[in-house]
């Protein structure tokens, strides 16, 4: 945590660039007004921040940038009143940021292992941070396999990153869409069906999974069938949040709070929480 | 002490609350434990009333439309404009649309303004004719216009019939009382087309076909006759007209009942027997916008009279009002043919009593409800509500002059030429009459913002500008005049109204011993037709209120937590929804939130499917109060919709 205390009161950041990702999803690059060089507070992959759109409200959003040497940005889908308001902002407008909060993805602990990323739709957003960080430290990891599912080719986001990773040695990229369309040369079908097909490594492997509930459950089942241990399957939960600091209780899952005990859980932990996902 | 006692003004239950008032703001709310009805309970709406009172969406200044735009004006300018415009229109072409949310004092003065100043009897509520039917039936039968039982006596009822009302959502605290009584051993039977929460909490649940309430109730009456369970002594001693009612029942056949209601005939029989054999019994049904037709209400009333469950402790026929002052509005003569306290305008002595007090000659010819005059009216004065406007957008937008009076912004303002703000219920004194005729006083707790006038002050100002001499110094003065002119309010004055208020007529409930007359069976016919589906339109579409819509959400939209709760469905189904059964969904090959089209003989609309086991396979359900979704569809079905809660439209639903 930096010396700037933004736990209760947001600090102000300026939107420096806005990128259209896919339909209803935009990426906002931010510069922090109160910090040297506009640099963000220190954070790690898998954490989230609370973002205030002034006059509309506040929402929780996961961090897609790598904590090492990446431009700070948020990628947000337009789903409700506040995210709608964010989408109407332009470059130069201000937002408020509290955080980062949450536990974050493991990094040091998984060095030397094979890493699998499985993402469905906008579940890609939180995983991007970890993928970037692993890419920046590629020599410390084994095989890196990335499986990205989307309904249509137009719904694959971070196209510029995908291009870069495809050319990264040691990165195995697998993109799929739900149904075949002309001009698509990648795989088709739901993303969990690819895992067996692509012969993923099982020993000494950690899998990161994020996506909508149906996809999530199918992927988990497939990974466990293939022999990956429950504690090596890592995911991040999304819940309705109001405070981010473990007080408002909206994000309670079982005996834990997603904001302070999560959002990152391994599957063994998720199973004991006693709720449906 | 910063907590000030008051009355919740959302629904017709009239719960007691304490508001946390500091300076000019309300910071919170707490239930009142010693209130005779609510006894320390509030519902989700009541617990968050402070959010509504703090809304920035209040009307803060009078407005006049100039070049198509509403611009700020003074009260003087706006009132002059209103009076000038109304004076130019013939009284037959002026309509007054009152609000069932206004206090008795405000409604009384609006009624007086219409009749004594602008010489028109075209005044009514938006929610005509729902509650009027209940009032006509109870008044015709007993002389008392309103609920015949008492909410305080729910705990003394052994048997309760809940007919077509989702009471734990519409009037949660009444639902709670019924639930408490059931837990202590009372038998509760629900007859409804949908599996509501009260249905789940009942001992018996009869999920009947849409439109079959009347035949189901009639059959219960027939069971009493056939099995000699009618209370013969009671009938002989206290009633008249029994024989002709029995005659009407004679044509009813068991097989017909089974087919039309779609429920196990034995269950209906058991319910009838339980009613007859109980020591005391009550019936609850919805009264208001979603009320029943006259025939169904008459049968409910007759059933309870023949069972001898009326006018005694723990007994009663109880029409439940959804809006806080619906009962009081009728009591204040908000109807084309009524003066206060259900006194008839056509009664010469009554009219001359009012005329004398007001110094005018009243026009004794009944007017018409503005709803029925759409297309003919040239000017409309509307207070606080906007349902009629929504249903009659075309006609209203063509009028020469529309005035809107209210505390909060709403859709009506879009059509208004003059907008006149009034104080909210915490900014002025006012009485409200709940569903059981309980008159309660909500006292002024904070100063209105920036010289905003109270309703009674504004109406006085209008009257004076129009040349009348009104001289009320307070809302209490208005009540003095009401009491003087209204036998059932004769005992009521602001200084006598303490916690719990006073019931009209000074009686807790209808008492057969003190009625001073015989109870008359209501006229009823033997037409038991139910709406039928056809091959072309195989599904019966029900129109009703919903858990998640409360009076068009006009007030809920201005809050945070109730908005979140009441808009739950709307967030999931942004274009509205039609509830269909899982079985039907499978047939149509649609899942939850898939787009579907509803086609009826009169019109069609596209919406999303909500798949739920709350409806039967051959029925579907849309909520009444969603202007975003159904304005057009409901306009196409305006005539059909007059039947209220029992309205059904045969439709077919297709996948889009």
């Amino acid at each position: 945590m930096s010396e700037i205390n933004n736990i209760t009161i947001p600090e102000i950041a300026t939107i420096t660039e806005i990128k259209d990702e896919i339909i209803e999803v935009k990426t906002f690059y931010l510069s922090f007004d109160g910090r040297q060089g506009g640099q963000p507070p220190k954070f790690t992959s898998g954490q989230f921040v609370m973002c205030t759109v002034f006059g509309a409200g506040e929402f929780a959003v996961s961090l897609p940038p790598s904590p090492e040497n990446d431009r700070f940005h948020l990628t947000v889908r337009r789903v409700g009143k506040v995210t709608n308001a964010l989408h109407s902002l332009k470059v130069g407008d201000k937002v408020g940021i509290r955080g980062p909060f949450g536990n974050g993805f493991p990094f040091e602990e998984i060095q030397g292992k094979n890493v699998i990323y499985v993402a469905g739709g906008i579940g890609f957003i939180p995983l991007r941070s970890s993928i970037m960080r692993v890419m920046q430290n590629k020599d410390k990891f084994g095989r890196v396999l990335i499986f990205l599912g989307a309904r249509t080719p137009q719904e694959h986001m971070y196209a510029y990153n995908i291009k870069e990773w495809k050319n990264t040695p040691g990165f195995e990229m697998n993109l799929t869409i739900d149904n075949p369309v002309p001009g698509w040369d990648g795989d088709t079908g739901f993303v969990h069906t690819l895992l067996k097909k692509k012969n993923i490594p099982v020993e000494n492997t950690v899998a990161f999974v994020c996506g909508p509930p149906m996809m999530f459950n199918a992927v988990i089942k497939e990974l466990i069938d293939l022999g990956i241990k429950e504690e090596n399957i890592i995911s991040t939960l999304e819940r309705h949040m109001k405070c981010g600091i473990g007080k408002c209780q909206h994000c309670a899952v079982g005996r834990t709070l997603v904001c302070t005990d999560g959002p990152v859980y391994n599957y063994r932990q998720l199973k004991t929480l006693g709720e449906q996902f | 002490m910063n907590y000030k006692s008051g009355i919740c003004t959302f629904c017709g239950t009239g719960c007691g609350h304490l508001l946390d008032v500091r300076g000019d703001k309300v910071y919170g709310v707490f239930p009142m434990q010693n209130h005779p009805v609510s006894k320390g309970r509030l519902c989700v709406r009541g617990w968050n009333v402070h959010e509504l009172l703090n809304t920035p969406e209040k009307i803060t200044t009078p407005l006049i439309r100039k070049d198509g735009k509403l611009v700020e004006a003074s009260y003087d300018e706006a009132v002059s404009c209103l009076v000038e415009k109304l004076k130019k229109v013939s009284p037959d072409e002026i309509g007054f649309l009152a609000s069932p949310r206004s206090s008795n004092e405000d409604n009384f003065l609006l009624m007086k303004l219409a009749r004594a100043v602008f010489n028109t009897n075209n005044i009514s509520l938006d929610s005509d004719p729902g509650h009027r039917i209940s009032l006509d039936v109870t008044h015709g039968g007993t002389g008392m216009a309103g609920m015949l039982g008492s909410l305080e006596e729910i705990s003394k009822a052994d048997f309760m019939l809940i007919v077509g009302i989702d009471i734990t959502k519409q009037n949660p605290i009444i639902g709670s009382e019924i639930h408490f009584a059931a837990r202590k051993g009372a038998r509760v039977v629900t007859i409804d087309t949908r599996n509501t929460q009260i249905a789940k909490l009942s001992n018996g649940f009869l999920q009947i076909q849409p439109g079959a309430y009347k035949i189901a109730i009639a059959y219960m009456a027939k069971v009493l006759v056939d099995e000699n369970l009618a209370d013969v002594d009671f009938i002989k001693k206290y009633t008249e007209g029994y024989d002709s009612f029995v005659k009407v029942l004679s044509s009813l056949k068991e097989s017909e009942v089974a087919e039309k209601t779609g429920v196990d005939i034995e269950m209906l029989k058991t319910a009838a027997r339980d009613l007859a054999l109980s020591r005391s019994a009550m019936v609850f049904f919805s009264s208001g916008i979603s009320g029943f037709d006259r025939e169904t209400v008459s049968y409910i009333f007759n059933l309870y009279v023949m069972a001898g469950k009326i006018g005694k402790e723990g007994c009663g026929v109880n029409p439940i009002t959804g809006i806080n002052n619906l009962q009081g509005s009728y009591d204040m003569g908000i109807a084309p043919d009524l003066l206060t306290g259900f006194q008839s305008l056509s009664d010469g002595t009554v009219a001359s009593k009012f005329g004398k007090e007001w110094g005018v000659n009243l026009n004794a010819k009944a007017g018409k409800a503005p709803n029925e005059l759409m297309g003919k009216l040239k000017a409309l004065v509307t207070v606080d509500h906007d349902e009629t406007i929504i249903r009659n957008v075309n006609e209203v937008s063509k009028m020469d002059f529309v005035a809107y009076i209210g505390s909060y912004q709403n859709n009506c303002m879009n059509y208004a030429h003059v907008v006149l703000p009034i104080a909210t219920y915490v900014e002025t004194d006012g009485t409200f009459t709940n569903t059981e005729r309980r008159v309660q006083l909500a006292k002024k707790k904070i100063e209105p913002a920036k010289n905003i006038l109270a309703g009674w002050q504004l109406l006085s100002k209008i009257a004076e500008k129009a040349g009348a001499k009104w001289s009320y110094g307070s809302a209490a003065d208005v009540m003095k005049e009401i009491a003087k002119l209204t036998p059932s309010y004769a005992e009521i004055s602001h200084d006598k109204l303490a916690v719990g208020g006073i019931k009209t007529g000074g009686v807790n409930r209808f008492d057969v011993e003190k009625a001073g007359r015989k109870i008359a069976f209501a006229a009823a016919d033997a037409n038991f037709a139910v709406p039928l589906a056809s091959e072309e339109y195989p599904i019966l579409l029900l129109i009703g209120e919903s858990q998640h819509y409360w009076h068009q959400n006009n007030l809920m939209k201005k809050t945070h937590i109730p908005l979140r709760e009441y808009n739950a469905t709307l967030l999931l189904y942004p274009q509205g929804y039609v509830a269909i059964s899982p079985q039907k969904a499978k047939e149509l090959n649609v899942r939850d939130r898939f787009p579907v089209k509803i086609v009826s003989p009169y019109g069609s609309m596209e919406t999303l499917a909500q798949v739920t086991d709350k409806v039967k396979p051959n029925t579907a359900y849309v909520a009444y109060f969603v202007d975003e979704m159904v304005t057009k569809f409901f306009m196409e079905h305006k005539d059909v919709l007059k039947r209220g809660e029992d309205t059904t439209i045969p439709v077919r639903i297709v996948k889009v």
Partner: protein, 351 residues
């Protein structure tokens, strides 16, 4: 320990009023309802009033509270944020031990976890607490089952016990002791300690039998709630009766859920408000996209009782979340206050 004459007990409140805003039990005249509110006239305080309908929770965690306000100048792309906390010094006078226990639960929750809640801390940091031993329990009370009464054991500055013609005054902090000394109270002796024990014993005797005879009745369900070994049908039975009003959370001395909204106050200004919220509401856990992980009402109900009774949650409060005040039983339109829920769960265990 000290003594003060009954007629002089309000001197303590008067002394406190010099430095603090004094809150205490007051009977609302029209409704005869006891509320724990701010008093301007110390004479309004009533130490013999029934347990306040409104618990003192709102002094630390108000129903509707501004935590910041801001201006946003859209044209010039400027924002000005002002933190806006209540920092007034408050004294709570005549608090009952159940309600003090609620405050201690909130302290541990708001101040003792990973993050400290600044808003709560500002309410709490300058607070003076005077508790009052309950000598008459009310019909819904069961603090003897939740180890939170009838007399306060920790967390007070001064604790009063009615010994007939005088009050025993115990100091629980240096602040309390200093005040007692300042008022020149006379010292008590061992006989008074014994008298206090008698008062407590007599008070316990007056509890309803359900509370008295089954002192373990809450602890018996803690295990079940923690492990989740409760038949789903029990939760369904309870859920069917829930009218989703939120009252149980609002009146609970230890419930802390809140909602945050940013209502606009002008063309370019808004407040950030924090308001009470309840896990019984459907919208409470629903996400912006419409997915609701806790949609059925019985799931929401089981969540609340997990919070009040489970061991995992007790770790946060260092005791069970329920303080035995029984208010949820008063206000529940579904008749599923905590004592009833405990009864249903025990009935299921016994099967």
């Amino acid at each position: 320990m000290y003594l003060i004459n009954k007629s002089q007990v309000s001197d303590i409140a008067k002394e406190l009023q010099k430095e603090y805003q004094v809150y205490g039990p007051v009977m609302e005249k029209e409704t005869k309802q006891c509320m724990f509110v701010k008093v301007d006239d110390i004479a309004e305080l009533d130490l013999n009033a029934p347990i306040p309908a409104l618990p003192p929770k709102h002094t630390l965690f108000p129903q509707f509270e501004r935590i910041m306000s801001y201006q946003y100048d859209k044209k010039n792309q400027k924002v000005d944020i002002k933190p806006d906390f209540d920092v007034s010094k408050k004294a709570l006078f005549g608090l009952r031990s159940c309600d003090l226990t609620g405050v201690l639960c909130m302290d541990r929750f708001f101040l003792g976890q990973e993050f400290v809640d600044d808003v709560y801390k500002n309410h709490r940091k300058n607070m003076f607490i005077v508790t009052n031993t309950c000598n008459v329990p009310f019909k819904q009370c069961f603090c003897v089952c939740t180890d939170s009464g009838p007399s306060a054991q920790e967390g007070y500055d001064l604790n009063l016990t009615d010994l007939g013609d005088q009050y025993l005054v115990e100091a629980g902090s240096d602040k309390g002791k200093a005040l007692a000394e300042k008022l020149g109270l006379k010292k008590s002796d061992d006989s008074h300690k014994k008298a206090k024990a008698d008062v407590i014993d007599k008070s316990i005797d007056k509890f309803d039998s359900i509370a008295k005879d089954n002192k373990a009745w809450i602890s018996r369900v803690v295990n079940r709630v923690t492990t989740g070994l409760i038949d789903e049908k029990v939760w369904e039975y309870i859920g069917n009766q829930c009218l989703e009003c939120g009252a149980c959370s609002f009146v609970c001395p230890s419930c802390t859920c809140f909602n945050i909204v940013d209502p606009v106050t002008g063309p370019e200004t808004a407040d950030r408000m924090r308001t009470w919220d309840s896990c019984s509401y459907e919208g409470y856990s629903r996400m912006a996209g419409g997915h609701n992980p806790r949609h059925p009402v019985e799931d929401r109900r089981s969540k609340r009782f997990f919070c009040k009774l489970s061991y995992s949650q007790s770790k946060k409060y260092l005791r069970p979340g329920c303080v035995g005040c029984g208010r949820c039983q008063w206000v529940c339109p579904g008749d599923i206050g905590l004592p009833n829920v405990v009864t249903y769960i025990r009935r299921d265990i016994q099967k």
